[in-house]
Structure formats: C-alpha cells, structure tokens
C-alpha cells in the first residue's frame, strides 16, 4: 500500500469508527442513565436502514426521508419505552436481556414480513454524489466525508450536553441512581422516555445514513450490536470519551485488518481471520484493563 491508499483506508476507518460511536453511545446513554441493558439496540439500526430504503423510494428525497425516518424512530422509541422498557428499571439484567432479546426476534420477523429478506441498496443523494479528486487516480467520495462530519457534529453536541447539563452529570457518574435523579427534581418518567427515544433515533439515524454506503441486509442489526458491545467493553462505561476512542480504534483496526491480510513473521495466517482483530483487541483489554480504557475501577 502506498501512502495515499493508507490515507484513504484511514479515512474509511475513522468514518466507520464515528458511525460505531453513534450506535455505541446510544447504548451507553441508555445504560448510563436508566440502568437498562438494551440488546435490541442493533435492531433499531437495522430498522433505520430499511426505513431509509423504503422512504427514499417513496419520497424520492433523501433529506425529507431522513427527517421522517428519525421522527418515526423517535416515536417508536417513545412507544417501546411506554410498553416495555419502563417496567425494566427495577429489574435485574437478566430480565432486561430477555425482554430486549424478545424485541429482537419481533423486529427481525416484522422486518421479514414488511420488507422481506432481500439485500437492498440505497442511492447516495444527488447533492453528495461525487468524489474529491486526491491525485490523478485516487478519489474520496463526498458522501463519506459528509457522514463523518455529521457524526462529529453529533459527538460534539453530545459531549457538550454531557459536560454541561445535570443529566450529563448522571451519565458521567456511570451508574444510574434514581434517588439522585429525584434529588435533582427531574420528572424521571418523562426524562427516561425521552432518553430512550433519543437512543433509538440515534441508532436508527446511524442505520439510515450508513445505508447508502453499505448494503441493507437482514443481519446488519446483530452485526452492529456485537461490534458496539466490543466498543463499550473496550471504552469503559460511563465515559463518552471512552466510547469515542474505542469506536475509532475499533473502526481503524477493523478496516486495516481487512485490507492488510495478517502477516506474522512473514507467514500469512488465515487472511480471513483479520475480521477477528477487534475481538483480539477486546481480549487484550480484558486481560490488562478489564474496566475498559477510560472506565472506572470496580
């Protein structure tokens, strides 16, 4: 690989990492504030991508579709919180895992009923369709740049919100504490519903904006969920900074791992195993820093 190719792969890795950050931060947000482990989070990403595919088809306008999709996801989040999640706050992790696992099955089957099991692709919006010419024969797509930019903006907003609001204080504490929330004089029920819906929209939004660059396929939800779990374990809980660093790390390692087949001592061992590099990273973190890079000791 020459320098430009490395540069392009690095850009791709960062862009993938930023996208992962959006998904993983929703997961952290929901756990950090409400104490609920939501393994259906990946389903919302998948729903987002399928919504993007449908909406762009009907509305024939990417931006309007994006808006409608996020609004729909937010509504879905509100309804789900009201129907299921609000019963889980005082329950143990096992029940939370099971209820959200049930939701995964429901969403995946509904997806199959509504959209079928085919793989689809979504067109890049005309406005962002094109590339920036880097050298004579290397170009970088504008859409990917835009996507990274959007993620960075959301990350900054989120960072600001967490550093400078009372709710953010609770997230930084890393542990949900209803007593403390009460002490702050907040209507917990409403705040929780809002936060959950926000998390759902974040995941769905990530799915929507990623649809044009990856294909839309049935297993995309669990794939992104598992990688987000890896991100959270590496980054440590209660730390948006940790989620960001871990997401970028995972994005870069995964991207480079897949491009350069793994050469150890000049022997090429299982080029396919490169896809497992992020799990190897997680194993290393578990050995040397089980609380995650930025996590507090427990």
């Amino acid at each position: 690989m020459d320098a430009f190719a490395i540069f392009i792969q690095a850009m791709n890795g960062i862009q993938y990492g930023l996208l992962l950050f959006l998904v993983a931060s929703g997961l952290t947000l929901i756990f950090g504030i409400m104490g609920v482990i939501n393994i259906a989070h990946g389903s919302f990403y998948m729903i987002g991508a399928y919504l993007a595919w449908s909406l762009m088809g009907w509305l024939e306008n990417f931006w309007f579709g994006l808006f409608v999709g996020v609004a729909a996801a937010f509504l879905l989040g509100l309804v789900l919180e009201w129907m299921f999640i609000r019963f889980l706050y005082d329950r143990d992790h096992l029940q939370q895992v099971l209820v959200t696992y049930g939701l995964i099955l429901i969403f995946s089957e509904l997806r199959s009923v509504i959209w079928g099991d085919d793989v689809h692709s979504v067109a890049i919006p005309a406005l962002l369709d094109g590339s920036i010419q880097l050298t004579e024969n290397l170009a970088y797509p504008i859409y990917r740049l835009w996507l990274s930019g959007v993620c960075v903006v959301i990350a900054i907003l989120m960072y600001f919100g967490i550093q400078h609001t009372r709710l953010g204080m609770m997230i930084r504490a890393g542990e949900s504490d209803r007593e403390m929330t009460k002490a702050l004089g907040i209507n917990i029920g409403l705040v929780y519903r809002f936060i959950f819906a926000l998390g759902v929209s974040l995941a769905a939004f990530s799915g929507m904006i990623s649809a044009p660059i990856s294909s839309v396929f049935p297993g995309m939800g669990s794939q992104v969920l598992i990688v987000s779990f890896v991100v959270v374990v590496i980054g440590g809980l209660g730390s948006i900074k940790g989620a960001m660093v871990a997401a970028l790390l995972v994005g870069l390692i995964d991207t480079f791992g897949k491009v350069m087949s793994l050469d150890i001592f000049g022997i090429n061992i299982f080029p396919e195993m490169a896809g497992m590099s992020i799990f190897a990273l997680m194993a290393l973190i578990l050995i040397f820093r089980p609380q995650g890079i930025f996590g507090k000791e427990y």
Binding site: F87, L94, F229
Partner: protein
C-alpha cells in the same frame, strides 16, 4: 400430600419417557431426543445463571465448539470410539472454557453479558469466515462414533430409539451431577456468590477462582450436549455457536425458573413444544416466540417452577 402428588407426577413422567419409543412415531422420538439434549445444555447454563448469578450470552460457543471437535476428530474411514470422542470433546471444550472464562470473569454485570456475547460471536466469525471447518456451510461428521462395550453390547447411534435412550440416560446423569454440585461445599460457595458476591469475597473466598471453576464445569456440560447434538444430526454449522442459541437457552432457563434443578427440564420442554406449535401456525413463528419471551420475562420472572405445584413442600 402435595409432596406425594409431586413425586407421583415426576415418576409418571419418567415412566412415560422410558416407554415413549414404544408408541412414539419416529419423528416424535427424534424430537424428544432433541429436547433431552437441549435440557442438558440449558441445565449447564442454569448452573451459571441460576446458581452463580452469571448471565452469559455466549454459552452456545461451548455447545457448538464441542460438536466441531467431534467433526474434526472423526476419521473418514472408520468409526471412532464413542467414549474417547466424548472425552476429547469435553476436554477441548473445557480448555476453551478456561480461556473464555478467565477473560470474561474479569468483568462484572453488564460487561460480563457484553463480553460473553462478543467472545461467542468471535468464535462464530472464526468458524464462519475461515476454511478450517467448512466455513459458513459447516461440515459433516464423517462417521458416527461407535458405542460398544468390548464385544458384548452395542448401541447403534443411527437408530433413533437407541439414540433416544442414550440422550435420556445422559440427561438424567447430568441432572444428578448438577444436583450433586449444588449440594456440595463448592455449590454452597456458588450460592454465596450468587446472592452476595461482595460479602463472599470478604469472608475469605477467592470468588474469581470459584466462578472460573463453575464456568469451566458449565462449559464441559454444554460440551456433552453439543456432542450429542452433532451425533444426532451428523452435521455441525456456525449457527450452533451463534448467540440466538444462547438467547433461547437463557429464555428456557427463565421460563422454567432459574436456580431450580428441574427448571431447565420444564422450561426447555415447554418452549420447544410451544415453538413447534408456532411453526405449524405461521412461517413467521419467531414473531410469536418473541412475544412469548417478552411476556414471560415481564410477567413470569420466576418461571414455571414458581408455581406451587412444583415447589418442595414448605
């Protein structure tokens, strides 16, 4: 009175299980074997979830891995001795259990759940993406192992009735073993860890060590079920280690009632029968399963053994 009824009830069920091959259709005998194998797997998960408080979402890794060990070991031309093959599968899976356990047990709570899922999926991707063991298609088991005690007695594993009895005996043995573990001094420490790990640590127990031993035992029992499953179907594939297997098993633990030895028996049988029913109704039966899981987790967190009838007289 209830105690007697209870004994009678379980006695009758066991008798029915013994006699099942005499009136059952081939399909039902096979299905019953499938349930028995699953009971073994769910019981091993219950040891972690119900008796030690470790919620693992990656337990299927051991189920599938054990099957793969058998598939990779089976020679092309001749059958392998059943007991040698079983022992090899259990030991290899146990080694994997030590590695995974040593890693994931460094975390707690939600991190434990996440890292077990991630490690399980790592195995999935490994089996799915490499050519080592047939990739995404999985691989056939060349020859079913040969169960014979020297020359005087032999089981034919391709025969559904023979296989059924093998699964039944295995399930009973596993339940007895788990019961022994729970009532041993080791089981007492597990109970302590399950209820209050902090205090157990402060009382002088190296809880990490106890959890690791428990994790490895559970992985080895899971290996028994994975081995039998591979023998029954003659094929292994990456889906066996996938997290949907773990999720379903977790559901069976809860449905039956975690922390009860018979919980997995009741939970597994119920869910598998119900799912069989769902499959007859619609091809989107997973939707119904999902709804059932949500409802049970929300409204029956103590499972079916929570019902008085199944409880030991108080």
């Amino acid at each position: 009175m209830r105690a007697i009824l209870r004994k009678l009830f379980f006695g009758l069920i066991f008798l029915a299980l013994l006699l099942l091959p005499f009136w059952g259709d081939r399909f039902y005998i096979q299905f019953a074997s499938k349930i028995l194998i699953m009971i073994v797997f769910v019981s091993s998960l219950n040891l972690l979830v119900g008796f030690t408080g470790l919620v693992s979402l990656g337990h299927a890794a051991f189920f599938g891995f054990s099957g793969y060990v058998l598939a990779l070991l089976s020679p092309v031309d001749s059958a392998m001795n059943f007991f040698v093959a079983l022992l090899a599968s259990i030991l290899c899976t146990g080694v994997l259990g030590v590695i995974f356990g040593a890693l994931v047990l460094r975390t707690k709570g939600i991190f434990f759940i996440m890292s077990t899922l991630a490690l399980g999926e790592m195995l999935f991707y490994f089996l799915h993406d490499t050519d080592l063991a047939g990739g995404s298609d999985g691989m056939y088991i060349n020859s079913r192992p040969d169960v014979s005690f020297f020359d005087w007695w032999q089981l034919d594993l391709a025969n559904v009735v023979h296989f059924y009895y093998l699964a039944l005996i295995t399930a009973v043995i596993v339940l007895i073993v788990i019961r022994a573990i729970i009532h041993s001094p080791f089981g007492r420490v597990l109970a302590g860890i399950c209820v209050n790990e902090h205090r157990t640590k402060a009382l002088g127990y190296n809880t990490y060590k106890f959890k690791l031993v428990c994790f490895v035992i559970a992985s080895m029992i899971a290996a028994v079920s994975g081995f039998l499953s591979a023998v029954q179907f003659g094929v292994v594939n990456p889906e066996m280690v996938g997290w949907h297997v773990s999720g379903h098993a977790l559901m069976m633990v809860i449905l039956g009632g975690k922390g009860a030895i018979l919980g997995p028996v009741i939970g597994t049988t119920t869910l598998m029968l119900v799912e069989e029913g769902f499959q007859m109704v619609t091809k989107h039966w997973q939707l119904l399963t999902g709804v059932a899981i949500v409802l049970v987790a929300l409204f029956f967190p103590h499972g079916l053994v929570g019902f008085k009838f199944f409880k030991k007289g108080s």
